[in-house]
Point group: none
Chain length 231, copies 4
DNA sequence: GATGAATGAGATTTCATTCAT
DNA sequence: AATGAATGAAATCTCATTCAT
């Protein structure tokens, strides 16, 4: 059954979407740069090359509405990323959770390089939301977190059935795996932006290289900090 | 071992400190509730039961100065928490990193219950700082992160010498261990504040109980997500 | 000879200028009345019958920007006054510096009656500027003083070539001539505003009448305080 | 009959005056530097090395009271300067108004070098007063101007009786002579503080040297800008 | 008499939103 | 549909003055 997005679009409608896209991109860059509170509609409109008032024709709810539209695209993309990795993993005979997570971390790092703004918005604004006094914002955040967890869960469930996972609640595990991706990227970003601080060479070199960073995180989380018993 | 703060204080000076404390507490609660940008000095002053102008007699640098004074207390307390756990661990014959971390997580959870505001501020504002365009703010954040890592490191180094740790860069390990404490607390907070969402019982019960939560996180990070090879 | 300002303007642009004019007039009256420091944007906006924020759409640099826009108009008008008188004088066969200055003083007095606010601002604020710690303000003041001196100089140079002037540096002379116009107007204003103080009748009557005042100042500065040698 | 100031003073009273002096000096420097509006009692108290509250024990009328006390000292000193010059001139057989004015200008320049602050206050604040909406301030300004004029008048009256002056109202003449001293000093100050601006060498050298500057102004005002008829 | 902590009115400035064109 | 001028609430910060010590 055809959904809205499959329906043939009038030229008018297509143009409308293009303009909306431009506005979203402008909003992304401003929100990332200034943070939600210091972003101004004036600047968003300027970067989008539209008039300020026009934004109100494309987004309901003013500034906040635009912001949530941006958040939506962020979470959409992240969920796609997770879903992709999971689909690949589930496609094989015997799901390899380590490999799947390693791939996912790599994709997340790539994504960060492509769309740095989106990640920065996430880091600057998303966690704030979960302590907001506005229940609807909290609910939004929870919903989106859940989407990501749910995207990852099938892979973990399959792996669990195969006995590949420690006997711990899978949801909590999924949360932890996802949160640590953010953590890794923040950590890498700090070091990249401010490389002049003295840190151990080893530490630095491991996180600098995307491949090694993904391996590091995967090892940490799948095999643990503790030395293997035989060692 | 006498520090400045042990020196006998004039009544005047003691009173001054008391009032400063009151202002800091008021600031904590407002910053936690509203976030930095929406916190107003008016409200801080009101809750501290002082006039607006008085805040300027106690803190240099206006709103930002007050905010950093609050951040200082947060990081001081967190570093103390870490240092305490590490000191206990190092006091024993053979340092047990798992036990040490477990203790630390427990203390962090307790601390969160005592001073929820401080944690909320941390979560709402700290990460934003590392993407600030103001280099001095980034440097402050890095300095404080480093303090925490450095407080934990001695324990890891000792454990590493005992061959108890996997061969990975200790600094990165320390970062990951510390960041996951925040992550756990955020996770617990979300579930506690909004328990009405459907989640698996097992998941819920594990994270609700501080003891179990600490055990969960310690197991996750020390032993890994993957099932033990023998299993 | 068409300048930009002669170009045909869109209705939009014409309206914009009208509104800017209204704001400038309002600003003039408030700055004159209260002085720069005690003038408030609130009151300027009120008198201009616009909202406070609207001022910021018409002038860059906030309060200071508005103030300098006012100063610009003042100096523009004064320079025009001088230039007019000088042009008339130079148009004749043999420039008569006495007549030229007399005319100029008369025009200045008329201008003061028309635009009292502008003069008051000049007196209240301009000299302060030359002892400002902000070098750019000092430079602005010097630049404007120089403009006025340069507007008057051609006349003096011509007169000097005709042997009509004492052999003294012309720039210093120009300064003195210009400054004394302000001085005269201040003096007249004081007496006009507060005529109840006992002063000699002769003194009073001479300065009250614009024509006599101009003659007095011209005689003073061109022929000197000292009695003519023949007398 | 002994006046208050001739009465022997108790040690207590002498100390009180000394402290008052210190406060006045501090106030002078702050008012000169910042101008009335931006001067703060805090800074005055600091420079005077007293507590802020103490100022209120020494001056009635708070900030404004202190300011007028400073103004009083300024005008006292200026009147003394004028009175001195006039007394010297009147002491001779035949009063020489040119010489008297020349001396006065020289003294004023010296005074400016000794007490620059006082002059700066005069220039920054005094003229503002004559357009104040507060009648008592205007009256104060007029009173002080009159004092200066009255101090100079006897010399002019004597010279006038000797036929040395042009037949013009003496009060207006006195005003003009006094105002031009301020003008000269401002002019010299601007050039001294910002000598990098290109000005004619002649102009510069004449005003730089106090002696030549006094001669210039005296010639200008007594003999006039116009060339002598015989020339 | 000297002090300086406390105060809060009042200033400038920013910006989301509206709405006439 | 697109615009951007107008708005005014609300924020931070300053400082003269008071008054308990």
């Amino acid at each position: 059954m055809a959904t809205d997005s499959d329906a043939p679009l009038s030229r008018r409608e297509r143009e409308r979407r293009t303009r909306r896209q431009a506005m979203l991109r402008a909003a992304e860059s401003v929100f990332a740069e200034k943070g939600y509170d210091h972003a101004t509609l004036e600047e968003i409109a300027e970067r989008a090359e539209f008039g300020k008032g026009t934004l109100y024709n494309y987004f309901e709810g003013g500034k906040e509405g635009i912001f949530f539209a941006v958040l939506d695209t962020i979470y959409d993309e992240l969920c796609d990323l997770i879903a992709e990795s999971v689909a690949e993993a589930l496609a094989s005979d015997r799901v390899d959770p380590r490999a799947c997570y390693h791939t996912l971390v790599g994709k997340a790092i790539d994504f960060y390089h492509d769309r740095e703004d989106l990640f920065v918005i996430l880091i600057k604004e998303a966690y704030r939301m979960c302590f907001s006094h506005d229940a609807s914002k909290v609910a939004y955040f929870q919903r989106q977190q859940e989407r990501m967890v749910n995207a990852l869960l099938p892979m973990l469930q399959q792996a669990d059935e195969n006995g590949a996972l420690r006997d711990l609640p899978l949801e909590a595990m999924a949360h932890l795996l996802i949160e640590n991706i953010d953590g890794l990227i923040v950590h890498r970003a700090i070091m990249a932006n401010h490389p002049n601080r003295p840190t151990s060479c080893q530490h630095q070199s491991i996180l600098d290289d995307p491949e090694k960073a993904a391996t590091f995180l995967t090892t940490m989380l799948f095999d643990g900090v503790a030395a293997p018993p035989s060692a």
